[in-house]
């Protein structure tokens, strides 16, 4: 809480100067400064009130019923707090006359709610502390997933899902409530963030299912550090044996049949589905009698636009490609931060293969036809979503 004023001051790092006179600029800067000071004071006051209220509530509450009360009270408190901040900013907006000024304040208001917490040191400290692996006594499951580790990553996952890519999920109920199912999605984005976002979507939106396991390409799974992390948060190395085992244990499995071809496609190929492997996912569905849920992800193509990739250099260090994006390697490590596009994930209606038996597994032509059918459905989902999309960044 103490850091807040410091960071709040960072906010208007780029006040747009009035073009007419130097005096105008000075006065605007001064005005803005006083206004920021006002907001600060307001925030501080509100936080003090909130703190004292919380303390009072905690002292009072002992039983379970009280806890529910506290929850309600906290909700109303946070609402009033929000209202107060909004009111202050609105007041400021009314006072201001110049167009520039109003724009500035509008932007400020939009940003304040998100950036206030995102830009504080505490926010990152909290995330880092939660993410830092520490010894726990929780047992891990047979594929190495640690529930404690997943919990630790939840804030980061939630942040990416809600704030960064503002993922909009539709059709989540197409995932069966229980039992095995295979989620087939388009793959993109240079690094497998799309798998993580599907996991987040299932965790957050679906009622009662928390067990989405995503299959990870070899090059990610055997990348130093990343591999060890992947299996701890629920990733499994992509191979037919693993997928079959997961499905036979009634898990929800996420696969990307495009594989490396999909995740590392050029920017100009975006949203054009690549070949769907050799139809292994169809065989998997027939073998394990699992329903298939086609998924289209829009937005992930733009997080790391690949303009060029080097395969020879990459081979030397054992990864499939080194991408050249607008930010990487130009900006070094900073260039590895994905761009904040707006995402939309749509889950299509499930496809069943119940009527197909073991003899269908031998029929490669049929497998290929079914694979193409699924590919067509996902492409259709993408086209529908892209038709509606007005902007890459705002959706």
């Amino acid at each position: 809480m103490q850091d807040k004023p410091d960071n709040a001051r960072v906010l208007p790092f780029n006040p747009r100067p009035k073009p007419e006179t130097e005096n105008g600029f000075d006065s605007l800067a001064k005005k803005l400064e006083t206004k920021i000071a006002n907001i600060e004071r307001e925030l501080k006051d509100s936080i003090h009130i909130l703190e004292s209220d919380v303390q009072r509530l905690v002292k009072r509450g002992k039983g379970k019923a009280d806890q529910a009360d506290i929850k309600d009270d906290l909700a109303t408190l946070s609402k009033t707090l929000e209202g107060r901040i909004k009111g202050t900013l609105d007041g400021l907006l009314k006072e201001s006359r110049g167009k520039n000024e109003r724009e500035e304040l509008k932007a400020l208001r939009g940003l304040s709610s998100h950036l206030m917490q995102v830009l504080t040191v505490d926010f990152y400290k909290n995330i880092l502390e939660k993410v830092k692996p520490t010894e726990t006594n929780d047992d891990i499951d047979e594929f190495g997933m640690e529930p404690a580790m997943v919990e630790r990553f939840r804030p980061l996952l939630d942040f990416l899902y809600e704030k960064y890519w503002r993922v909009e999920t539709t059709g989540i109920n197409n995932i069966p409530d229980k039992g095995r199912a295979l989620i087939v999605a388009n793959h993109s984005g240079t690094l497998p963030y799309d798998g993580a976002m599907i996991k987040a979507a299932v965790l957050k939106e679906h009622q009662g299912r928390k067990d989405a396991r995503f299959l990870v390409e070899d090059f990610v799974f055997h990348m130093p550090f990343l591999g060890g992390l992947m299996y701890r948060i629920g990733g499994v190395r992509a191979c037919p044996e693993n997928a079959e085992r997961l499905l036979s244990k009634e898990h929800l499995v996420v696969v990307f049949p495009e594989g490396v071809k999909g995740i590392g496609k050029y920017y100009h190929q975006r949203y054009k589905l690549q070949r769907f492997g050799r139809g292994g996912f169809i065989k998997l569905c027939i073998k394990t009698q699992s329903p298939l849920v086609p998924v289209g992800i829009v937005g992930a193509e733009e997080i790391h636009p690949i303009l060029f990739k080097s395969n020879t250099l990459a081979k030397a260090i054992g990864i499939p490609y080194i991408p050249l994006t607008p930010t990487f390697p130009l900006m070094g490590l900073l260039g590895m931060i994905p761009l904040p596009s707006k995402w939309h994930i749509h889950f299509g209606p499930p496809i069943h293969f119940d009527q197909l038996g073991a003899e269908a597994l031998q029929d490669e032509i049929l497998i290929h036809k079914l694979s193409e059918k699924v590919r067509g459905q996902i492409q259709q989902i993408l086209i529908e979503q892209l038709k509606k999309r007005r902007s890459v960044w705002r959706g």
């Binding site: 047992d139 891990i140 047979e142 799974f221 055997h222 044996e241 693993n242």
Partner: protein
């Protein structure tokens, strides 16, 4: 399914100085169900033997198969347990090859001549090898690829092949191969326990494979079951549950120093030559990639469920280790 053996038939254990052979012999010696037990090794085990008959035989001798077939015929061998394998990769690879691969070859030839009904062979899950292409759970029908990695493992695969050849040649006879995972427990001693016992455990920076163990009591119980009952084929003998290597080292409470993979192999090989590393550099991949066996066949077909999980097996090892450091093992037992 347990039926007592015919009176004149005997159980033969070859290799009673190793951990499995010795523990098994101790058990058979105590159990009154087994009337005739024969032990064969190149030196007498450190056990008081009452009913067991001991034969001294070195499998590396040229006429070992002839001598062995005579012994097996004389003693009317019904079940032969072959555990004459070193637990750790030996320094002398040529000698190891003689004992493991050629020794098994001799034993199988002798079995063929003496018409041994059942052969139970010990093997290890490491024969699958640690490869980046391994699925999380290796099943018995996957071909072992350890020979691509290491000569010690190549010899173990060769030994298995001799037994499988024997099974194919005589369809009326039984061959059971038990591939055990890393054995841990209060008394076991192998290169893996030496690795876990060191003050500083070095791993490969950025790699943290899942590992799997089996408790020593479970191993012996499974071998007894294989002697008592007839089960044909290969079975992975591994406990439930997996543990990341880093967690294993943390539980052991040792200093964990990850080193970069550049020069790691060379370093390990140098240390191995100086007698400071428990295994040669060819075993380094086990610190890097998965080699975990599936125990579904063991549970469903062999009908044996390990009593200890991987973690519990590890904890018994750690507990005994801590007492050993304080010289308290005897009083605790």
């Amino acid at each position: 399914m347990k039926k007592p053996l015919a009176k004149d038939k005997s159980i033969v254990i070859i290799g009673v100085n190793g951990f499995i052979g010795r523990s098994l012999l101790r058990h058979l010696e105590k159990d009154t169900r087994y009337k005739r037990v024969i032990a064969i090794d190149y030196k007498k085990p450190n056990l008081t033997l009452k009913k067991t008959k001991f034969y001294k035989l070195n499998l590396t001798e040229t006429m070992a198969d002839v001598t062995l077939s005579e012994i097996l015929t004389d003693e009317a061998c019904d079940t032969l347990v072959l555990t004459a394998f070193p637990m750790s990769p030996p320094k002398d690879q040529a000698l190891a090859h003689e004992v493991i691969a050629i020794g098994s070859f001799y034993v199988m030839n002798a079995c063929a001549a003496a018409q041994v009904r059942k052969v139970v062979m010990a093997s290890i899950t490491d024969v699958y090898g640690a490869f980046p292409t391994n699925p999380n759970y290796l099943t018995e029908d996957m071909p072992p690829k350890g020979h691509l990695q290491d000569r010690f493992l190549a010899d173990r695969i060769d030994a298995e092949k001799q037994a499988l050849k024997y099974a194919a040649k005589f369809p009326d006879r039984l061959v059971t191969i038990l591939r055990h995972a890393t054995i841990l427990g209060p008394t076991i001693e192998s290169y893996k326990t030496r690795y876990l016992r060191r003050t500083i455990s070095t791993t490969m920076l950025g790699f943290d494979p899942l590992t799997q163990f089996i408790h020593e009591d479970d191993v012996i119980s499974a071998f007894i079951k294989a002697i008592d009952e007839d089960h044909k084929g290969i079975f992975n003998l591994a406990a439930d549950g997996v543990l990341p290597l880093s967690r294993v080292i943390k539980l052991c409470g040792k200093l964990h120093i990850p080193l970069t993979q550049i020069g790691f192999k060379t370093g390990v090989q140098l240390l191995w030559l100086m007698d400071l590393s428990p295994a040669p550099a060819s075993h380094v991949d086990f610190l890097r990639y998965l080699c975990v066996a599936d125990n579904d066949k063991l549970k469903n077909i062999f009908g044996f469920t390990p009593r200890y999980t991987s973690k519990e097996a590890l904890l018994t090892f750690i507990g005994a280790e801590r007492l050993r450091e304080l010289d308290l093992t005897e009083t605790a037992a």
